[in-house]
């Protein structure tokens, strides 16, 4: 059974990392977002392996169900400049690669090779913190951070609305058919009056 879990973990880890690589390298930004969803799912599966089912479900609920759909939504709203045909990486992307690789080296050497982690001995009787205990902790020890987080969410909510809100007066309104006909009629009249403006009018 241990071998089975190990195999599952290795497959999940490989998939997570591969999906992550696709997220940062793929040209089409929608594909990048879909790969991000794939990596969120496999991270959630790893949480399940580690018996943190509450966190796993919240991961799917918040990351996959809310954040990713928001990202997709934003991409669709800004569509025609985010597709292919545009250079996606900076010219000097290799500097970023070196920085990331160096950081990986710095992280991996002390944590993996040079430190003896005080892991719980196998077979010991351990009690895993349950969902009920998390709820209780939020109402007792972590009450202040909990309230601060809720204020943060409120501020983010209002901030997002304020930033993305467009004044009605500055909005580029889609014209109705009647208005368009009216506009064309006016333009034709002005054409008849001043034929020199023709070129600038039609080039719009």
């Amino acid at each position: 059974m241990n071998i089975l879990i190990m195999v599952i973990f290795v497959v999940l880890a490989a998939f997570t990392l591969a999906a992550g690589v696709m997220v940062v390298t793929v040209k089409n930004i929608i594909h990048a977002a879909l790969w991000l969803i794939a990596s969120f799912f496999s991270v959630a599966a790893m949480y399940l392996l580690m018996e943190a089912e509450f966190i796993a479900i919240v991961q799917v609920l918040v990351y996959v169900g809310a954040i990713s759909i928001l990202v997709l939504f934003a991409i669709m709203l800004t569509r025609h400049v985010t597709g292919e045909g545009v250079r996606q990486l900076y010219k000097r992307w290799w500097i970023a690669l070196i920085v990331a690789a160096a950081l990986f080296g710095v992280l991996i050497v002390p944590t993996v090779f040079n430190y003896e982690w005080a892991v719980q001995p196998s077979g010991a009787q351990i009690s895993i913190a349950s969902t009920v205990e998390i709820g209780t902790a939020f109402m007792r020890e972590y009450l202040l951070p909990f309230e601060v987080a809720s204020v943060l969410l409120l501020v983010a909510l209002i901030g997002a609305i304020v930033i993305a809100f467009e004044e009605r007066s500055t909005r580029r309104r889609v014209l109705t058919l009647a208005e368009e006909v009216e506009q064309r009629r006016q333009r034709n009249e002005s054409l008849r009056l001043a034929p020199t403006t023709h070129a600038s009018e039609t080039s719009e």
Partner: protein, 107 residues
């Protein structure tokens, strides 16, 4: 039969470190601001993976690990909402979402 017996902790940490560095690369090298945001989300996920691994392997009876992970998820949600709102606002005024083309403060 659980993960603690089957997989050593450094493996999980290595996966998390790898995910973090991939996210960092994405955040630094992408021109598209949405792409930068995706990289940051990957980094936050890596941090969460680390927190859960430490919780499960070192202190499974203390809730702090899971609580911290939940706070990070909250912050990630707030960050994504504000970030995407900014991207849409930028797109509306400049018709681009590439970070290096939004440079009106450049001297």
């Amino acid at each position: 039969m659980n993960m603690v017996d089957a997989v050593p902790l450094p493996w999980v940490l290595a996966v998390a470190a790898g995910l973090f560095c991939i996210g960092l690369f994405g955040a630094l090298s992408r021109r598209n601001t949405v792409g930068i945001l995706l990289g940051v989300e990957l980094m936050l996920n890596a941090v969460n993976l680390n927190l859960i691994a430490f919780w499960r392997y070192l202190e499974p009876n203390v809730v702090a690990g899971q609580v911290f992970a939940l706070f990070i998820i909250t912050v990630a949600a707030a960050e994504a909402a504000v970030g995407l709102a900014m991207i849409i606002a930028i797109y509306r005024t400049r018709l681009t979402v590439n970070a290096d083309e939004v440079d009106s403060l450049k001297g």
